[in-house]
């Protein structure tokens, strides 16, 4: 019987054929946590296992990204505790302004066939290069930091096959929002969501990463794309071509569920409050005033995202009743965006361009006011997510967000650009 990509990776890791549903213990190639989850992991290692020593310093990393630069003395103390742990263990540690864990893991660590566990739900992002990558809680990750292993239930798999081409100003974000609107927030619970088909083959790794990043929003354990020549090109760009290896599902792989989509049917979409699976086409929200537009996050803060925002905002001005905040996903993204003149265009259009990080998405470094509406390129719009339960969060693609910033209201980018 053929194997899905998830089954192929775990079978190789376990040295035998594994089947969906069985529990396996296997080694973890890379594990990490951030300022929202690492303190509890360290606390658990210390109090429950009596150690703060990691199993292998080259396989563990820590990130100050969710509340950085630190907005309070409490958080500064948390960062200090993390720095001490990192120093004692000689692990890679990413400081204020280095960027979001998921962007940095993608740039520096993720590779085909690696097993990656992060103490953050969006760790599923790294399946974009063919890694078995999933999020767990602090205690699980604390245990992995000590033992270098963990247990997994081998997941069933769901195939999302997308053929055809996306229309102008329609992106992989719109594609995912449309999928989660159909299958709902628990539609892929515990499954490996595998994105296949010509439309996905045509996308670059950065666009595919939006899909794998959001797999968790449908409940999935993993989001996976093929490790093909696009992945090889991506790894080469970051000087890691030696880590490339092809990964494809077998032709006769067994998927529990198969979904077929024609990319031409996808329209610019909005997820409206307070659930990611509350989805409708952008034109249905036409005219709705937006107080703040946010471009960034582990979903849509990469170079190509900033580039498209700059292209839309070039020579224009953000509506005076609307604020635009932009967070490049990492230092490397920021530097490249400066070099290409992208940041200058965004600044001239009126954007506040902030240090790489993801505090805005969870309301730690920027918060909304009472009754305000935000349109963001992030992945979640839960009540209170951006620091205020009396505010509303709408989610969209970068083109929809950038075009809406110009008009101060939600627009369908196809109608105005």
């Amino acid at each position: 019987m053929g194997k899905t990509m998830a089954e192929k990776i775990l079978s190789r890791k376990c040295g035998r054929d594994v089947e969906p549903g069985e529990l396996v213990v296997c080694e973890v190639d890379m594990t990490f946590a951030h300022d929202g989850t690492m303190p509890l992991a360290i606390q658990q290692m210390k109090s429950e296992l009596g150690t703060t020593k990691v199993f292998d310093s080259s396989k563990v990393a820590g990130f100050c990204d969710h509340a950085s630069p630190s907005p309070s003395s409490h958080i500064s103390n948390v960062h200090t505790m993390m720095r001490e742990f990192a120093r004692e263990n000689c692990i890679d540690f990413y400081e204020n302004g280095d960027g979001i864990c998921h962007q940095i893991v993608l740039e520096r660590y993720a590779a085909p066939y690696k097993v990656i566990v992060g103490a953050d739900s969006h760790t599923c992002t790294h399946g974009v290069v063919g890694a078995f990558a999933t999020g767990m809680g602090s205690t699980d990750v604390g245990a992995i930091m000590v033992y270098g292993k963990t247990w997994f239930k081998v997941p069933e798999s769901m195939k999302i096959e997308v053929d055809g081409e996306l229309g102008e100003w329609v992106t992989s974000k719109d594609l995912f929002l449309s999928v989660v609107g159909d299958i709902k927030a628990d539609g892929a619970t515990y499954m490996s969501m595998e994105f296949l088909g010509k439309c996905i083959d045509d996308m670059e790794v950065e666009q595919r990463a939006t899909l794998t990043n959001m797999a968790i929003e449908a409940g999935a354990k993993l989001g996976l794309c093929k490790a093909d020549e696009k992945v090889e090109k991506f790894l080469t760009e970051y000087g890691r071509e030696d880590e490339f290896e092809e990964l494809y599902p077998d032709d006769d792989a067994e998927y529990l569920t198969e979904i077929f989509i024609d990319a031409q049917d996808i329209e610019p979409m909005i997820a409206y409050p307070h659930r990611v699976d509350n989805v409708a086409p952008a034109y249905e929200f036409k005219g709705m005033h937006i107080d703040q537009v946010c471009i960034g996050s582990c979903t849509n803060g990469r170079l190509s995202d900033l580039e498209i925002a700059a292209q839309i905002l070039d020579g224009e001005e953000v509506c005076k009743d609307t604020r635009l905040v932009v967070y490049p996903a990492s230092r490397s993204v920021f530097i490249k965006a400066v070099g290409r003149g992208i940041i200058e265009k965004l600044l001239e259009a009126g954007a506040a361009v902030c240090a790489p990080g993801c505090g805005f998405c969870i309301g730690r470094t920027v918060a909304l006011g009472d009754g305000e509406k935000a349109l963001s390129t992030q992945n979640r719009n839960f009540k209170g997510r951006m620091g205020n339960e009396n505010a509303e969060i709408y989610l969209s693609s970068v083109p929809t967000a950038a075009a809406s910033a110009l008009y101060g209201e939600i627009v369908d980018p196809r109608e105005v650009l």
Partner: protein, 169 residues
């Protein structure tokens, strides 16, 4: 293991971890006891007080309970609110795993939300896979929890399990 208690709340489908404990607190407050005061704050401000007044209460929920963030603070604050068990139609994956890791019993039982009202008294037999609604007088079955997960609960969570067994082998 048998758990007996009154139902404190019947929660809707897709109750997420941001609702259970807001991200705006979890970075500042590392003490779970202090964090727990904010449990369900934005959607149910009297939750903490009611839970503390009725220790050992049970939560009943719809589909996909605990979806969203990986924050383990979610099952931990519920434990700190003295919730003895959560019964839901289904759970999100990371919340499910986190609950066993911290030693909080949770049960997936199809049909539960249609058969339970607030303040009903339930008796949950974790080994036998039965839930008795003592107030309404009927019984529902659920698929018993896998042995490995039961071992985690009996040990009091993943860390004590690993400490006792000396690792994964």
């Amino acid at each position: 293991m048998i758990i007996k208690g009154k139902v404190l709340r019947v929660l809707p489908d897709d109750t997420n971890t941001d609702e259970i404990i807001s991200g705006k607190y979890k970075y500042d407050v590392l003490d779970i006891g202090k964090l727990a005061v904010h449990t369900f704050e934005a959607i149910d401000p009297s939750f903490y007080r009611d839970a503390k007044k009725n220790p050992g209460s049970i939560l009943v929920a719809g589909k996909n309970f605990g979806c969203g963030s990986s924050r383990e603070q979610a099952p931990r604050v519920l434990q700190e609110c003295d919730i003895s068990c959560i019964v839901a139609e289904s759970f999100a994956r990371i919340f499910y795993r986190n609950s066993f890791n911290v030693g909080l019993p949770i049960v997936e039982c199809k049909g539960i939300s249609a058969h339970v009202d607030k303040e009903d008294e339930l008796e949950i037999d974790l080994d036998g896979g039965k839930i008795r609604n003592l107030t309404k007088g009927y019984e529902l079955s659920f698929k018993p929890i896998p042995d490995f997960m039961q071992n985690l609960l009996q040990a009091g969570g993943i860390m004590s399990y690993l400490r006792k067994s000396g690792g994964y082998e």
